[in-house]
Amino acid sequence: MNLTNNSPVLIPLLFLSTGIMTPVLAMKKEWLARWIALGASAASVALSIFNLIRVINVGKPIHYKLGNWNPSLGIEYVLDHLSAFVILVINAIAFLVLIYAKKSIESELPGKEVPYYASVLLMLCGFNGMMITGDLFNLYVFLEICSLTLYGLIAVGEKKSSMAAFTYLIMGTIAGCFYLLGVGFLYIKTGSLNMADVRAILPFMLDQPAVVIGLCFMTLGLGIKMALFPLHGWLPDAYTYAPSVSSALIAPTGTKVASYVLIRIFYFVFGITFVSKTLPVADIISWLAVVGIIYGSIMAIAQKELKRMLAYSTVAQVGYIGLGIGLANPFGLIGAVLHILNHAVMKACLFLVSGNFRLKLGHSNIFKLDNTIRKKMPWTMAAFTIAALSMVGLPPMAGFFSKWYLALGTIEKGNWLFLAAILVSTLLNAVYFFRILEKVYMKPIDSQSSNTHEQGTYHDHSVKENEETVKRDEVSPSMLFPTLTLAAALVVLGILNAIIVDGVIKYIIPKGL
């Protein structure tokens, strides 16, 4: 088997096979499930890196025919800079979260490891398939694969997770249906399901109502999956009530894959002139995204619970990506793709931190955090601080650079309102993140729960006693390592962002932009 030539299909194949085999292999030895998952994930990371290097070397998109059937009858997989890049991001994050998963799953979902890991593997199969395929219907298939597993992964959480998963189920199914309807309309008009084919044929029939409606359907479907305002309603509950590992797996990846598909549809299937000049669809997306940014940030301030706050923060961050897509200029697109990377790393790190809290403190309620956590879990808090600073957008952390490109995109478009929205949201982000930092680093112990402490008695001996009795209670290395790696990655990615943009992202911009 020629590894190089078949490399595009290997990753989905790997996940599919391991996902199906896991329940069988791990029937007797349950600990095997986790190792299969880790092994598959590690292999996928290696393959993703291999793919990315391959694309960079070749320079042009690599087309791979599944089973050697020619399109449009056959299914084609396309490996270009964009897909290779996003695939690497998703798989790398998944790998790190899977390392983290062991202790968290043991504490939150005892006894359910085998089906959980199997579902995770299938979900990753779905994601990878969505990202690499060049066929519209094939994408739907993988979309459904990953959606179903996603519902399952969310539903095993705490009490309210069933409701959250059910809402997500409804909305996700609607999303899939809409997308399928859109594909159907396009198929009727163009006669092909292959993205490149459709791209070639569409310019001849852009004024047909069916094409327009098809675009609307697909946009809406993907918008739901992406949690673009106002289609985000399923997200807060889903992310909050899911188990920690699920949140950490899904939050950085799910919406990003949908954003990736949206970029594909807008820029590579319909073509940017249709989407932005002929029809103001891109503009609408960008306006909705901006409202989403502000809305998400404001709602995040109101939250008491850390995971919910992160969920609303995700709505805002997806707004950034939507804004970048909707701007339809090179800077905007660079900003959007860079933000896919940055946000995935940041959110993963933050959700891992909330998982750490849940494991050690039993809760992740913001208002119950206090000074002792600084001593109990210093490394976790250090990772949280770095991730928080990156979310706010302080250089040299990675978050600053994607916001920078987005800002440049808005300036180039001349839309000062968007620029203002970016700046205001940065301030809002600062509010809800620094609130936590202040609680953990500066709030004295017992200032809320104990009534016997008077105002003036915070002098040395009482505080010192408390400080001495607080012992280090950090999470185990398997959980700490991914958290810290992601936090360190933020700094590294920030410093190296010029290399990333120059080496990979610049080639993503389609001609004519």
Binding site: I170, V212, L215, G233, D237, I284
Partner: protein, 576 residues
């Protein structure tokens, strides 16, 4: 393979970041480790090494190695190491970090190849050095540190404004190259900003004001970096600018005269910094190869012996708690080692043969003579007389030799690392004095001048001996008093009281009013932040706090939203 070029500044900055997380016992070792690492890096980096980073519009040159920057880099890194040994006993992380940042900033400025990088490191230096003044903790150091910071922010602002103005002009790029003031007002502003950092009168008062208020160990770092990086930049950007020669010559005398009046030993040394920097400025201003060599070698030697002088004064301050000549005396019996190490530096600065001042300061003076600036030469020699009077005679005499120790003066023992640091620096003062080729090899231009001529010996010996004789005869007149000498800072310190009452206070009150209004507004926003959805749903009874269960939109709502959006999109799409 790409060679990994690490700017030495980054090593020190990384050190500053790492120090707080290291255990306390290892911090001092780490400090020395990072400084030494950067020194080794500089010594082994080849000429022409360059590191560029492209940002959106500009190509930033973060590192550019050539002879001029290397020699400054070497001495900066070396003195950071020696200072690290001297301050080994410091437990306060803040001071250690600030010192590393400060040294890192100086290295960053030295190796910067473009003006933006230079400016960023310039500002890092300003802020971190202020901390070294503030951490002394006295009320005078608070005020002096604030004045220092304001001055440096002003200077930095002028420099930045100058850079921007210069860049907006025709044919300008951001590379650090020689500029001429005819090029435009931007260049004048840059010159002004740099001159402030070089402590050129009348912009020098921050130095004599703030350095004596710094911490014992902080002052050693302060004496080495700010003014000398300014000298480096002047040598790089404005060599041969005539006005620097005039300013420099004036500076040499100015500093020396004030030093004769002062009482605080570190203030005396601070004024002598101004005087010695004058030599460097004069050398830069003359612009010939020999003059630049002289300025650079003088900077190198000066950093060594000035640091040693401040180290000695620091030991006095550390062991007695006092630093004014009127309150101390006769310390030689208690601290002979400190005394002799100080005297090595004093001999160096006075230009005694066999010490490094002899082989460096005189190069500048001779360059002045060679370039036919006889008046400058004579004035600079006169300043040398004054230098010997102030640093070599007055200061040590009244500190260590004259009269007996005041009875109530307690003298502790200094930690041994302070002496080790001093010994290391003193070693090089003597080493270069005996073997100047070791220093000359690093100078930017080839050295054709030989310091060991008969003329030179005769001149130096005669001056020194007879200055000493005059000092001895007039030592009664020189006896310090407890008065302070007003300098140009009078112009902004004296009016401070009136300015405060009639201009600043009313402003303050109006700001208070505005601030109260803002707090009210912030309160309203905070209430809003607790439950933003109150805008849409007015709750009549019960609590208004946000709770997800109360405000969760029903699934029908979500679906309707999708439907509604679809209809809107479809209408827009079909109509347009």
């Amino acid at each position: 393979m790409i060679e990994l070029i690490i700017p030495p500044a980054f090593i020190l900055l990384a050190g500053a970041l790492m120090l707080p997380v290291l255990p306390q016992k290892t911090r001092s070792y780490a400090f020395i480790f990072f400084s030494l690492a950067s020194l080794i890096l500089i010594l082994t980096m080849k000429d022409g090494a360059i590191l560029t980073v492209s940002t959106m519009n500009y190509q930033l040159i973060i590192l550019k190695m050539d002879a001029l920057s290397r020699v400054f880099g070497i001495i900066f890194a070396f003195i950071a190491t020696a200072g690290g040994i001297y301050s080994f006993h410091i437990k306060e992380t803040g001071q250690q970090c600030a010192a590393l940042l400060y040294a890192g900033g100086a290295l960053g400025v030295t190796f910067a190849g473009d003006f933006f990088t230079l400016f960023i490191f310039w500002e890092i230096m300003a802020v971190s050095s202020t901390y070294l003044i503030w951490s002394r903790g006295t009320s005078e150091s608070q005020k002096a540190g604030l004045r220092y910071l304001l001055f440096h922010v002003l200077g930095g602002g002028l420099l930045f404004a100058g850079i921007l103005l210069y860049l907006s002009g025709p044919g300008a790029n951001i590379m650090v190259t020689q500029l001429k003031p005819e090029m435009g007002p931007g260049v004048w502003l840059m010159l002004l900003g740099i001159i402030i950092n070089a402590a050129v009168p009348p912009f020098h008062a921050w130095l004599s004001d703030a350095y004596p208020e710094a911490t014992v160990t902080g002052a050693v770092f302060l004496s080495a970096f700010t003014t000398k990086t300014a000298v480096y930049v002047l040598a790089r950007v404005f060599p041969g600018l005539e006005i620097l020669l005039i300013l420099g010559t004036v500076m040499t005398i100015y500093g020396v005269v004030y030093a004769l009046l002062e009482n605080d030993i570190r203030r005396i040394l601070a004024y002598h910094i101004i005087s010695q920097v004058g030599y460097m400025l004069a050398g830069v201003g003359i612009g010939t190869a020999m003059a630049i060599n002289g300025a650079v070698s003088h900077a190198f030697s000066h950093i060594l012996y000035k640091a040693l002088l401040f180290m000695g004064a620091g030991v006095v301050l550390h062991t007695t708690g006092k630093s004014t000549l009127t309150e101390i005396g006769g310390l030689r019996k208690e601290q002979p080692l400190t005394f002799w190490l100080y005297m090595i530096a004093a001999f160096s600065i006075s230009g005694f043969p066999l010490f490094n001042g002899f082989i460096s300061k005189s190069m500048t003076v001779a360059a002045a003579g060679e370039a036919h600036h006889e008046w400058a030469m004579l004035l600079m020699t006169l300043a040398a007389v004054g230098t010997f009077l102030g640093v070599g005679l007055k200061l040590p005499y009244f500190t260590w030799l004259a009269k007996d120790k005041p009875a109530d003066l307690k003298v502790e023992n200094p930690p041994i690392n302070m002496h080790i640091g001093m010994i290391i620096v003193a070693f090089f003062c003597i080493f270069h004095g005996l073997y100047p080729k070791h220093l000359y090899q690093w100078l930017p231009f080839p050295v054709e001048w030989n310091p060991f001529t008969l003329h030179h010996f005769v001149e130096t010996v005669q001056i020194l001996v007879f200055t000493f004789i005059v000092f001895w005869l007039m030592r009664g007149i020189i006896t310090p008093n407890t008065k302070i000498a007003l300098d140009v800072d009078w112009f902004y310190r004296r009016p401070a009281k009136f300015t405060r009452k009639y201009i600043v206070d009313p402003w303050d009150k109006s700001f208070d009013v505005i601030e109260a209004q803002f707090y009210k507004l912030a309160g309203i926003l905070a209430e809003f932040g607790k439950n933003p959805l109150l805008i849409m749903t007015k709750d009549k009874k019960g609590d208004t706090a946000y709770s997800p269960d109360r405000y969760r939109p029903a699934t029908q709502t979500l679906i309707l939203t999708v439907l509604g959006l679809f209809i809107i999109l479809a209408i827009i799409g079909l109509v347009f």
